[in-house]
Each structure stands twice: as structure tokens, then as C-alpha cells.
């Protein structure tokens, strides 16, 4: 499939000088998702200050995460890593009593080659709490990929699917409701009500979701193994997918991601045939959702977007926005897993053909400086960008939206398509409202001059 795509989609790769969040930022949503977990980030002041400054208010709410701050003695190996970690983990056990401690390895632990994977099982045995190790460092990964490393590590802790038969028998009522199909596990961390919505969406098609990776508690991890089907809900989970297939011998359903009504429908339509189920009423449901989005779509139709790229949701969002009638100039993305995203890329291509727009360039490892130059030429109506560039771009007359909001907002499924458009149209609506104030009006000519002086 990927061969076929590459004939029509073009991928470019730039210098990788772009702004993104460090992948350790995933602790911010994962600790809230997995209620009985404790995340220990083993790194330096630099990591700690990042979490503190980007997660702002959450820090003060007695979070279930902390830094194991490495000091000079740790770096120069004057202190014994194992003893130090043991001391901290015992304290965490005493203070919080979590069901799992997740060690997040950072750049520093990579560079000094701290053997976290080696120490974890020993310590786990000694203190009696599972310890999962994820290397979510900035040397290898970008922003949301942090979650990917955590889930991939957690996949190893899922039980073998032994109770397969027993579970399949279930209650008679369940059998009637769902029919009889092999277990399906979904992977990707979503707020629990969004997860429920997707469960329900599949239940409508008589597909039963037997588990989620991650579940809301570590003790509720799904069982995996031969014969279990898995499907991803987010585009940045390539490693997790690979782990599930190779190590856990699950079968991966390659599908576009359930973002936007088109994506959600395509996602369900890929899952159902696997279980020999014919979808029912999906087309109608998609149509109804589009209808409810009419007011927003009239705002965005014909407008252009530029994704600077920093959280890997870009392709799915671009595909949805193209379907809404927008023109996408560029899809910047930190990393493109062409195999895992194959179905999504195919849908992007089909959507472009359907909407009669050229297929946007996909730029891997973008160079922000070059991108700003291109933006000066293209003058997009909306730039989706990281926090570092948003205000400077606004000051130069661009409408911008923080990309990180898409990571935290509820954007999956039919019901949440509206949230995506709410975010996308907000800068347009706000700036339209302010248009009449002469002093804040945006003057395209001026922008050119000003950008010129910066570049």
C-alpha cells in the first residue's frame, strides 16, 4: 500500500530545526489518564523546568509525577544509581502507594547510559511495585511520541489472552448484543468520556471493545496475544503498533484515525469488515454530523492553512480540514511513519481528489526558519503552530492557532468533530470581530516589510 501512496504523495525532509515540546510532556496527560500510576522523570533541572513551565497550573495540584533530579554525583557515577532510585521509589511508595511506577528516561540517562531497563526488574522485585521503563527523550522523539514510548513499554505488561474463551462466552445478553467476534483492543490515551463515545460508536455496529491500552487504571490493562485484534486511535503510535504486532502477536487493523466525521466513519469501516460485520447507518450518521457543522464550515471554506508541524496529528487534521473545504499549503510533521499511517495517507489522497485540491506537500523534520519564509510567500489564512511562534506571527498579521490545543482537546469521534472546528475557527472569528478597530487591523503590506526585516 505504501508504494502506491508514494506515487501520488510527496514527502520532503528538511533540517529538523523546529520547535516542539519535549516528549516527556506526555506525563501531563498520562498520569491523569492512568489513575493509579506514578510517573518518575529521571532527568535534570532542564526537564523539570520544562514540565513546570509548560504544565503550569497542574504542577500545584499534587501531581502524581515528579523529577528524579540528577545531580553532579549521579553524572560522575560517584553515587550508585540503583541505590538512589531505590531510595526515591520507596519514598514514592510510602507517600502515594501507586500500582505502577513509570520511569521516564531522558536525554541525560541516555547519554550517561543509565541502565534503567536492567535496574527496573530488580527493584520491582525488591519493593513490590511494577516498574515500567519508557525512554521518552528529545534525542530520539518529539512531543506526542512520548506517549508512544510509554504505551509500547506498557504493552509488555498486558496479560496473555488466556481467558479468551471464557470471556467470549460472556453473558447471553452480551452475545445477543454483540455477536461473536475475536477480541478487539484499542490503543491510545483518550479522556474516558471520549473512549466511551468510541466504544458506543462501535457497539452500534455490534462490535465489542474488550479493552483499551491504556485503561484508566494500570490494574485494568487489557489482555493481548494471538488472535487479538488491535487498532490505533492516534497517528503517533507507530512504535506501540509495532510492539503489539511483533512482541504480542496481535493483528493490527490499519485504519485512518477517528478524527473528523470522515475519519471516524472510515475508521469504523475498516474495523467492521475484519469481523465480517456490515456497517449500518454510518453514511447517514456521517451526513448528519456534517450537517451540524454547517455554520463552522461556511467560515472555513476556501480558507488556507499551513501546519508548521509539531505533534504528529497534522495529517489527520489536514485531511479533515480539506474535507471541510479548506486548502492546505503544507503539512509539517516531526516524523512520518508511512506504514502505520498508510490508511490515513490514502484517505488524505482520496479526499484531495474528491475535493479537487492539489495534494499538500508533507514536510518531515521541518525547518521553522524556512517555513516562515514560505509563509511570507503563501500568506495562509491560518497557521497552526507551536507556542513559540504564535505571538510573533500574530504580530505580523497571521491568524494562528496553538497546535498543542489539539493534543489536549477532545477531537475524536463524530461528536467531537465540532471541537476541532471550534478551535480552527476561533482565531478567524476573533480577528473578524476585531477587524473594525483600525488600530488592530492587519495590514498585509506592512507584514511583508516587517517579516522582511526579521528574515
Amino acid at each position: 500500500m505504501s508504494v502506491e501512496i508514494s506515487e501520488t504523495l510527496t514527502f520532503e525532509c528538511e533540517t529538523g530545526n523546529y520547535h516542539t515540546f519535549c516528549p516527556i510532556s506526555c506525563v501531563s496527560w498520562l498520569y491523569q489518564k492512568i489513575e493509579d500510576s506514578f510517573f518518575l522523570v529521571i532527568g535534570t533541572k532542564t526537564c523539570g523546568y520544562f514540565l513546570q513551565n509548560t504544565l503550569g497550573v497542574m504542577i500545584f495540584a499534587e501531581p502524581r509525577y515528579a523529577m528524579a533530579e540528577l545531580e553532579e554525583g549521579d553524572i560522575s557515577a560517584q553515587l550508585n544509581d540503583y541505590e538512589e532510585l531505590k531510595r526515591l521509589c520507596i519514598r514514592i511508595k510510602k507517600d502515594r502507594n501507586p500500582n505502577v511506577i513509570i520511569w521516564i528516561g531522558t536525554c541525560t540517562t541516555e547519554i550517561i547510559k543509565m541502565d534503567l531497563e536492567g535496574m527496573a526488574p530488580k527493584l520491582e522485585y525488591e519493593i513490590g511495585i511494577p516498574i515500567v521503563v519508557a525512554r521518552a527523550n528529545g534525542l530520539d522523539y518529539a512531543s506526542t511520541q512520548g506517549e508512544d514510548t510509554v504505551l509500547a513499554a506498557m504493552a509488555h505488561r498486558c496479560l496473555e489472552q488466556e481467558s479468551f474463551v471464557r470471556e467470549r462466552n460472556g453473558t447471553i445478553q452480551e452475545l445477543v448484543e454483540y455477536g461473536d467476534h475475536p477480541p478487539l483492543t484499542l490503543f491510545g490515551s483518550l479522556p474516558s468520556n471520549v473512549a466511551s463515545q468510541l466504544n458506543l460508536e462501535l457497539r452500534r455496529q455490534s462490535v465489542k471493545v474488550s479493552g483499551w491500552l491504556p485503561a484508566h487504571r494500570y490494574t485494568h490493562l487489557p489482555s493481548l496475544g494471538d488472535g487479538v485484534y488491535v487498532c490505533g486511535v492516534n497517528p503517533f503510535l507507530g512504535r506501540t503498533a509495532t510492539t503489539l504486532v511483533r512482541r504480542e502477536r496481535c493483528r493490527l487493523i490499519g485504519a485512518p484515525f477517528p478524527i473528523g466525521p470522515d475519519g471516524t466513519r472510515a475508521w469504523i469501516e475498516k474495523i467492521c469488515p475484519v469481523f465480517d460485520i456490515e456497517t449500518q447507518g454510518l453514511e447517514e450518521r456521517e451526513k448528519r454530523t456534517w450537517e451540524s457543522l454547517k455554520d463552522y464550515i461556511s467560515l472555513v471554506r476556501g480558507k488556507s492553512v499551513f501546519f508548521m508541524g509539531d505533534n504528529l496529528l497534522e495529517v489527520s487534521l489536514a485531511r479533515f480540514l480539506i474535507r471541510c473545504g479548506m486548502i492546505v499549503y503544507e503539512i509539517g510533521i516531526p516524523y512520518m511513519d508511512k506504514r502505520y499511517q498508510a490508511a490515513e495517507l490514502a484517505l488524505l489522497r482520496d479526499t484531495c481528489i474528491k475535493m479537487c485540491v492539489p495534494i499538500p506537500r508533507i514536510v518531515e523534520k521541518p525547518d521553522n526558519y524556512n517555513q516562515i519564509r514560505r509563509m511570507r510567500e503563501l500568506q495562509p489564512d491560518l497557521v497552526i503552530t507551536g507556542m513559540a511562534h504564535a505571538d510573533p506571527l500574530e504580530a505580523r498579521g497571521m491568524n494562528t492557532k496553538w497546535s498543542v490545543e489539539f493534543t489536549f482537546a477532545q477531537i475524536h469521534g463524530f461528536a467531537n468533530a465540532r471541537n476541532v472546528l471550534e478551535l480552527v475557527t476561533r482565531p478567524l472569528r476573533r480577528n473578524d470581530d476585531l477587524e473594525d478597530l483600525g488600530r488592530t487591523r492587519k495590514d498585509r503590506v506592512k507584514i511583508n516589510c516587517k517579516l522582511g526585516s526579521i528574515l
Binding site: 529538523g16 530545526n17 520547535h19 516542539t20 515540546f21 519535549c22 516528549p23 535534570t44 533541572k45 532542564t46 523539570g48 523546568y49 520544562f50 513546570q52 513551565n53 509548560t54 503550569g56 504542577i59 500545584f60 501531581p63 515528579a66 523529577m67 528524579a68 533530579e69 540528577l70 545531580e71 553532579e72 553524572i75 553515587l79 519514598r91 536525554c107 541525560t108 547519554i111 550517561i112 527523550n137 528529545g138 534525542l139 530520539d140 522523539y141 518529539a142 474516558s192 468520556n193 466511551s196 463515545q197 458506543l200 484508566h216 451540524s292 526558519y369 507551536g386 507556542m387 513559540a388 511562534h389 504564535a390 505571538d391 510573533p392 504580530a395 461528536a415 465540532r418 471541537n419 528574515l455
Partner: protein, 513 residues
């Protein structure tokens, strides 16, 4: 290793970046992995900067780890030189580069030979110094680099300005109210007929640094940053400096008197007329500033002997402690700072102004202390504000680290005579609110509360099944009731009695459109 949930001072490179991005046309290149450029986010978010932060990274990735940076750092410096034409490029080490032990100094030297921009390597070690110390050092390093160059070329003009003049050293980006303080200091010096020679680093130009020695003296408003530069200038050029922070009446007067001494010493040499600032101090204190009268007013009488705790950076914590005790009659039970490196100065400053002194950078220790003391109000950083929230004690924020609300758009200096007004407001409001709270407690809260909740209850005769009740509990508590009411209203409209998860989802879909 230490278990840390929160830190008061950031890592060293943040200090260097703050100095670099405060100067005009100076660019910093960090030797760092992807994602370490969050300084740009802080600057763009907190300061609401309109310009791109002049900070980029020379990214350390797997390849660099395996083979070293080789040409990468030099290439990145040269590229930035072509793109932005900065006067100076500061190569900034991070925690990562300090373990990799690459010879960054060598890269800087090589690049500076080829590049039109000056290139220096910031001499700060992640494991030795924190953000504030690093900022202090980097500022000194930059000033020294340029003055030594001009000195060496003997193109340095050391003649003093004709009229009394001063440099203000240590105003820079992301500082606590420092933009406002800077404006207030300018006003103060203008009132005293003293010309501002230069303000560094904020808005300063590298090219003007050679004129620093023309000033009669240096003013260093904050203890944390600028002192090293002032000491260097004193040693090298015999420039005197005033480092008394002009915060509160007493220290304001002390600061102005020191300025007077410095001006008069040089005036006698250059046969200028001597100055006498005493009438100015008197007039300002008694008539212009409203805070002096405020502390005599009956309102402030109510604050007498109230217990407080003060915590922050050395400058703000020390000065606020002195102000509270000396100028408002408030009892400071404990004063502390996280500037461990400056503990001696801090202790000396507040000796006799408080019962106890706490030097720590562990917020849990501060929290425990506050819980023990149970003060009527806290004056601290954002962290203490949150501790206060948990303990139901009001808190005024007087020092970094801070949130966006501490970068106000309005004029809010902490220094100078206007600063005393601002601080008086802050102190008074913290206490007054505390008092109001107590009264509310005493009378059982606002009396409208019960009526409001009664009228809002709608869920009569509705049954939530266990699954949907579970689902409801997953909704964050601060919106839960609102969502619950909406769903119940939806169910009633539809004539549904049993609320299931499906009903909830359907309600959400309808309500969200």
C-alpha cells in the same frame, strides 16, 4: 538524586538566554536536544513578545551522540550569522552538552574566525550554577568581552560625561516586574538630574557597551543579576556602584544618599556643583508617595502585629521583610529565600526583622513552615500562593518564579516611590481579603448560597444507572454539576426517566451543537 516536584530557580542556560535575548541584535544558539527550546515559549507566552525570540538550537540527536557535533555547531552559527546578521552570537551550553564534554569553546573560536558576528561561548556550568547566577555571569562575560577588546585596541574612551550620569545594570527579560521597575528608576534618576548613560541588558546594544565607563556610577537594583558586572567595572575602571535596592522608604532614602555621595565625590573633581537630595527624599516620602501616609492611617493600624511569612528571591524577600516590619508594623514570623548561594547577605539584611530565617529551595519545607506558623497572610512566589490556597491563607506574590498574571499590562513597579504605593496596595489587599474571609466564615458564608442551589436542582424523578453514574464521576468535579444538570434537562425534555451512558452521549452531542 533528589525527588523534586517544583523548582524555584531554573537551569543555568535559561539565565544565559535571558541575558542574550534582552540585548538588541544578539542571538543565542543552544547546544541542546529537540524540545529544549522552551525558553522561546516562556518568552512568547509570559512576556507576550511580538518578535521571535532570538534563540535557536543546534540540535543534539543520535548522530551527534555517536559521532560528536563535528561541523554542525559551526555550520549553525554561520547559518544564523547569514540569516540574521546579529552583532553577537552566544553559544549556550545545556545540561546535555555539559555531559557530552564537547569542546564548545573551540567551536566558538573557529566560528568567530570565519563569521562577521562576534561569537562567544557562555561560560556557565549546568551543575554548578542556577538560572540567576548564570545570568549574572553571562552579563559580566559579555561586558568584559567588549570592554577588554576596546581596551586592548586602546580605542576605549574613558572620559566621564559632563553632567552626572548612571548605568542601570540588571534589567532583563522575564524578570519580576522589571520593565516597570526600569521605568520607575529612570524617573527617579531624572528627578535627581542624573542622566541615564545606559541600561543593560534590556534593550541595550552591544555596540554601545564601550561607552559604559563614561557614566559616573552604576546602579544595580537587584541583588541577583548585575553585581558581577558592577564589580568588574569597579575593579577595571574604578567605577563606583550603588547596590542598595530602592524598595521601601528607608532603603529608598539610603539608596539616594549613596547616589548623592557618589555624585558629590566626582563633582568635586570635575568642579561641578554639589548636590543635596535630602529635600527631595523628604518631599517624596511625606507628600508624593501615598504609602507613607497610608502606614500612619487607621486602616494600617489594624495590621499591627499580624503574622506573616515571606519567601522569594534574596532581593525581594529581604526588602519586603524590612518594609513589612519597619514601615507597616506587621510581624514577620519567618522570612526565607531560595537563593542559597547568597544566604549570608540575606541573613545579614533581615537580622532583627523576623523571628526565623529559612534558606531552602525545597518547596515542601516552605509549605511545612507555613503550615506550622499559620500566618494571616503570605508574601511569596506562585508556589506559596498555591500553598496558601490549600491552607486557606491569602498570598501576595512578590517574587519570581511567577505566572502570566505577574506580567501585568498596567504600570506596577516594585521599586521607587510608586513602588511603595503598589506594595502597600498588595499588602493591604491580601490582609483585607483574609479578614473578609473570616467574617464570611463567622456568619456562615454568603446567605444567598442555599437559595441558588435549590433553584438549580432539576433532577427530580430521574434514575441514573450505575454505569452512567460511573461515567458522571469521570467528569472533572468543577463542571460535573453543570453537565449533570444539562443532561437531566435533556432527559426531561425527551421524556426519558432512566439515564444511561447512551443518553449521556446523545445529550452531549445535542448540547455541544
Amino acid at each position: 538524586m533528589r525527588l523534586a516536584y517544583w523548582m524555584y530557580a531554573g537551569p543555568a542556560h535559561i539565565g544565559t538566554l535571558r541575558v542574550a535575548s534582552s540585548f538588541k541584535n544578539v542571538h543565542a544558539i543552544m547546544h541542546a536536544p529537540l524540545g529544549d527550546d522552551y525558553f522561546n515559549v516562556m518568552r512568547s507566552m509570559l512576556e507576550r513578545e511580538r518578535d521571535f525570540a532570538p534563540v535557536t538550537a543546534s540540535i543534539v540527536d543520535r548522530h551527534v551522540l555517536a559521532r560528536g557535533s563535528r561541523e554542525k555547531v559551526v555550520d549553525n552559527i554561520l547559518r544564523k550569522e547569514k540569516e540574521e546578521r546579529p552583532d553577537l552570537i552566544i553559544l549556550t551550553p545545556t545540561c546535555t552538552s555539559s555531559i557530552l564534554q564537547e569542546d564548545l569553546q573551540n567551536f566558538a573560536n573557529r566560528a568567530s574566525r570565519i563569521s562577521d558576528s562576534n561569537v562567544i561561548f557562555a561560560n556557565v556550568d549546568h551543575y554548578q550554577v542556577n538560572e540567576l547566577q548564570a545570568a549574572d555571569r553571562t552579563l559580566e562575560q559579555v561586558v568584559q568581552y567588549y570592554l577588554d577588546r576596546f581596551h586592548g585596541q586602546e580605542t576605549l574612551d574613558q572620559s566621564l560625561t559632563d553632567v552626572p550620569s548612571a548605568n542601570i545594570i540588571g534589567i532583563f527579560t522575564l524578570g519580576f516586574h522589571s520593565q516597570h521597575d526600569c521605568r520607575e528608576l529612570r524617573r527617579l534618576l531624572r528627578d535627581l538630574d542624573i542622566k541615564i548613560n545606559q541600561v543593560i541588558p534590556e534593550g541595550g546594544s552591544i555596540k554601545d557597551l564601550k561607552n559604559l565607563p563614561k557614566a559616573w556610577f552604576n546602579l544595580v537594583p537587584y541583588r541577583e543579576v548585575g553585581l558581577m558586572t558592577a564589580m568588574y567595572l569597579e575593579k577595571k575602571f574604578g567605577m563606583p556602584y550603588v547596590s542598595t535596592t530602592p524598595m521601601g522608604f528607608v532603603d529608598m532614602a539610603e539608596c539616594i544618599q549613596q547616589i548623592q555621595r557618589n555624585v558629590n565625590t566626582l563633582a568635586s573633581i570635575s568642579s561641578n556643583k554639589r548636590v543635596d537630595y535630602e529635600p527631595y527624599i523628604d518631599e517624596q516620602t511625606r507628600f508624593v508617595s501615598r504609602a507613607a501616609w497610608f502606614s500612619r492611617s487607621i486602616d494600617c493600624q489594624n495590621l499591627t502585629g499580624k503574622e506573616t511569612v515571606v519567601f522569594g528571591d534574596a532581593t525581594h524577600a529581604a526588602l519586603i521583610t524590612k518594609m513589612l516590619t519597619r514601615e507597616m508594623g506587621i510581624h514577620v514570623s519567618c522570612a526565607g529565600t531560595y537563593c542559597k548561594h547568597d544566604a549570608e547577605w540575606f541573613k545579614e539584611q533581615i537580622q532583627g526583622f523576623c523571628d526565623k530565617i529559612l534558606i531552602t529551595d525545597d518547596h515542601a519545607e516552605v509549605g511545612d513552615m507555613i503550615a506550622r506558623v499559620e500566618p494571616s497572610a503570605i508574601f511569596g512566589t506562585q508556589m506559596e500562593r498555591h500553598i496558601g490556597k490549600r491552607l486557606d491563607i491569602p498570598c501576595g506574590v512578590i517574587s519570581s518564579p511567577v505566572h502570566i498574571q505577574n506580567f501585568p499590562l498596567g504600570y506596577r513597579p516594585f521599586l521607587g516611590y510608586e513602588g511603595t504605593n503598589q506594595i502597600a496596595d498588595l499588602v493591604y489587599n491580601s490582609f483585607a481579603l483574609g479578614m473578609e474571609d473570616h467574617l464570611l466564615d463567622l456568619f456562615g458564608g454568603h446567605d444567598t448560597k442555599e437559595i441558588m442551589t435549590r433553584s438549580l436542582s432539576t433532577g427530580i424523578g430521574l434514575i441514573w444507572d450505575p454505569e452512567s453514574r460511573l461515567e458522571l464521576n469521570k467528569i472533572p468535579h468543577f463542571v460535573r454539576n453543570k453537565v449533570k444538570r444539562k443532561i437531566e434537562r435533556f432527559a426531561q425534555q425527551k421524556g426519558i426517566v432512566n439515564i444511561t451512558v447512551e443518553v449521556m452521549c446523545a445529550a452531549r452531542e445535542v448540547l455541544s451543537t
